[in-house]
C-alpha cells in the first residue's frame, strides 16, 4: 500500500488478518462447504434469481418494448418511445408504478449509462408523501415515457417503500427509471445526486 490515508484507515480494520475466521479452521470450513454442496440446486429459484442478472436487462427492455409493460396508468401515459427532449409534467394526471422486490439473491449488473438508456420510463421528482407503502412523487421532469404530474410508487409488501434497501425520504428529489411497470433498482434509480443526474442527462439526451 502506497497511500498513507488508505494505510491509516486500514489499521482501523476491525477484522485484520490476525483475527481467525472459519477458513482458518480446516474442519469447520470443510463442513460448511459439504453442507452447501448437499443443498439441491433449486431449479425454480434460478430464473427468479437471474431476473436481475446483467443478461436479463436487455430481455426486460425487449419485453417492455413489446408491450408487456404493466404500468397501471390512472390517467394518460403517452408512448414509451424515446423522446428527444424532456417533457413538462401535466399536473392533473398520475401514474402508478411498482417498486422492485428486494431480492438478496440478485446481483446487480455494473452500472452502465447504456443500460439506463434502455429504460422506457424515466423521470425526476420530489417525494411529497409516503403512506402505507406508497411513495408519491411530484414529477418536475419527464425524460421518457409520460407526462403525468404525479407518480405513485407502490411497495411490493408491507415492508415499506425502499429502493435498493434504502427507504425513501419525504422532500428528497429522486431520479427514477422504470421497466415493465417496475422502478429499476441497482443504482438505475435513486436520490438525485450529481452523478445520477449526469447519468440521466447522458442516457436520455437532455
Amino acid at each position: 500500500m502506497n497511500d498513507p490515508m488508505r494505510d491509516q484507515i486500514h489499521r482501523l480494520d476491525p477484522m485484520p488478518p490476525t483475527v481467525p475466521t472459519i477458513a482458518d479452521s480446516g474442519a469447520e470450513a470443510r463442513q460448511l462447504m459439504e453442507k452447501i454442496m448437499a443443498t439441491p440446486i433449486d431449479q425454480q429459484a434460478q430464473p427468479r434469481e437471474r431476473a436481475l442478472s446483467r443478461r436479463t436487462w436487455t430481455t426486460r427492455s425487449v419485453f417492455a418494448a413489446a408491450g408487456l409493460v404493466t404500468v397501471v396508468a390512472i390517467a394518460a401515459v403517452v408512448g414509451f418511445g424515446r423522446v428527444t427532449a424532456p417533457a413538462a409534467p401535466t399536473p392533473a394526471v398520475a401514474v402508478k408504478l411498482a417498486l422492485p422486490v428486494f431480492d438478496a439473491a440478485g446481483s446487480c449488473p455494473v452500472f452502465d449509462v447504456a443500460i439506463l438508456g434502455q429504460a422506457p420510463i424515466a423521470f425526476g421528482g420530489t417525494v411529497t408523501g409516503i403512506e402505507t407503502g406508497v411513495v408519491e412523487i411530484q414529477v418536475d421532469q419527464w425524460y421518457r415515457g409520460g407526462t403525468a404530474g404525479t407518480v405513485r410508487l407502490a411497495a411490493p409488501s408491507a415492508d415499506g417503500a425502499a429502493l435498493d434497501g434504502l427507504a425513501f425520504e419525504t422532500g428528497g428529489r429522486y431520479l427514477v427509471s422504470a421497466t415493465g411497470g417496475t422502478a429499476n433498482g441497482c443504482g438505475l434509480s435513486g436520490l438525485a445526486g450529481p452523478e445520477l443526474q449526469a447519468a440521466f442527462d447522458q442516457a436520455f439526451g437532455s
Binding site: 500500500m1 490515508m5 488508505r6 491509516q8 484507515i9 486500514h10 489499521r11 482501523l12 480494520d13 476491525p14 477484522m15 485484520p16 483475527v19 475466521t21 472459519i22 477458513a23 482458518d24 470450513a29 460448511l32 462447504m33 452447501i36 454442496m37 443443498t39 440446486i41 433449486d42 429459484a45 434460478q46 434469481e49 437471474r50 442478472s53 428486494f102 431480492d103 438478496a104 439473491a105 440478485g106 446481483s107 446487480c108 449488473p109 455494473v110 452500472f111 452502465d112 449509462v113 415492508d159 435498493d164 434497501g165 434504502l166 427507504a167 441497482c186 443504482g187 452523478e195 447519468a199
Partner: protein
C-alpha cells in the same frame, strides 16, 4: 455441468472467497448474523456458479453478501440501515474486534470517518478494508467506476478537512489550557469575545 465438476468448481471458488467474505460480513454485522449471511451467500454462489464473473469473483460475492445482509435485517424487522451499522463500527464500543488501540493517534481519524456521509463511508471501507479498486467497488455497489472515483475523491477531501479542523481545535484547546491561570491572557481573550 457434471456434478463432480460443479463440486470442484464450487470448492475452488469457496476456498478463495470464504475468508474475505467472512471478514467483510463481520466488519458490518454481529457475529451470529455474519455467519448466517455467510451461509446464505455461499448458497447463492453454489446455485449461481454459472453466473459468477471470473474476472470479478470476490466483488460479485461481496455484492451478494451486501444484499443478503440488508435482506436479513429487513426480514428480522431491524430497521438499522446498513450504513448506520457501518458508521457504528468506527465507534470502538460498536465493533466486534477493534484494531484501533484507542490511542490519540487514531481517534481523530475515527471521528473524521464517523462524520462521512454513508455512501462515501462505504466506499472508503471497501477501498481501505476490503482493499478493492474503484472498478471492483463499482461492482459491489452497482454503480459506475466513475461514480466510485468521485465518491472516493470527495471522501478523501472531507477526511482531510475534518482532520485539519480537528487539529486546529486541538491546538486551540492546548493554548487555552496553557493560558489558564494567566490573568493577562484571559483578559485579552475575554475582551476579544465581548468587544
Amino acid at each position: 455441468m457434471p456434478s463432480h465438476d460443479r463440486n470442484d468448481r464450487f470448492e475452488r471458488l469457496a476456498a478463495e472467497v470464504l475468508d474475505p467474505l467472512e471478514r467483510y460480513l463481520r466488519r458490518r454485522a454481529a457475529p451470529e448474523d455474519a455467519v448466517e449471511v455467510l451461509n446464505d451467500t455461499l448458497l447463492i454462489l453454489w446455485r449461481r456458479l454459472d453466473d459468477v464473473p471470473p474476472e470479478a469473483t470476490l466483488p460479485w460475492c461481496y455484492a451478494v453478501a451486501r444484499r443478503c445482509l440488508a435482506n436479513q435485517r429487513r426480514a428480522a424487522g431491524r430497521r438499522v440501515a446498513l450504513l448506520e451499522r457501518a458508521r457504528g463500527l468506527f465507534d470502538r464500543t460498536g465493533s466486534e474486534h477493534s484494531a484501533a488501540d484507542g490511542s490519540p493517534d487514531t481517534e481523530p481519524l475515527e471521528r473524521a470517518l464517523a462524520r462521512l456521509p454513508g455512501a462515501e463511508l462505504e466506499v472508503i471501507r471497501l477501498w481501505a478494508w476490503e482493499q478493492l479498486e474503484p472498478r471492483e467497488i463499482a461492482t459491489v455497489l452497482g454503480v459506475s467506476s466513475n461514480a466510485v472515483s468521485i465518491r472516493l475523491h470527495r471522501a478523501r477531501k472531507r477526511l482531510a478537512a475534518s482532520l485539519e479542523a480537528d487539529g486546529r481545535r486541538g491546538v486551540r484547546a492546548g493554548s487555552a489550557e496553557r493560558s489558564a491561570g494567566h490573568p493577562d491572557t484571559e483578559l485579552v481573550s475575554t475582551e476579544r469575545r465581548n468587544p
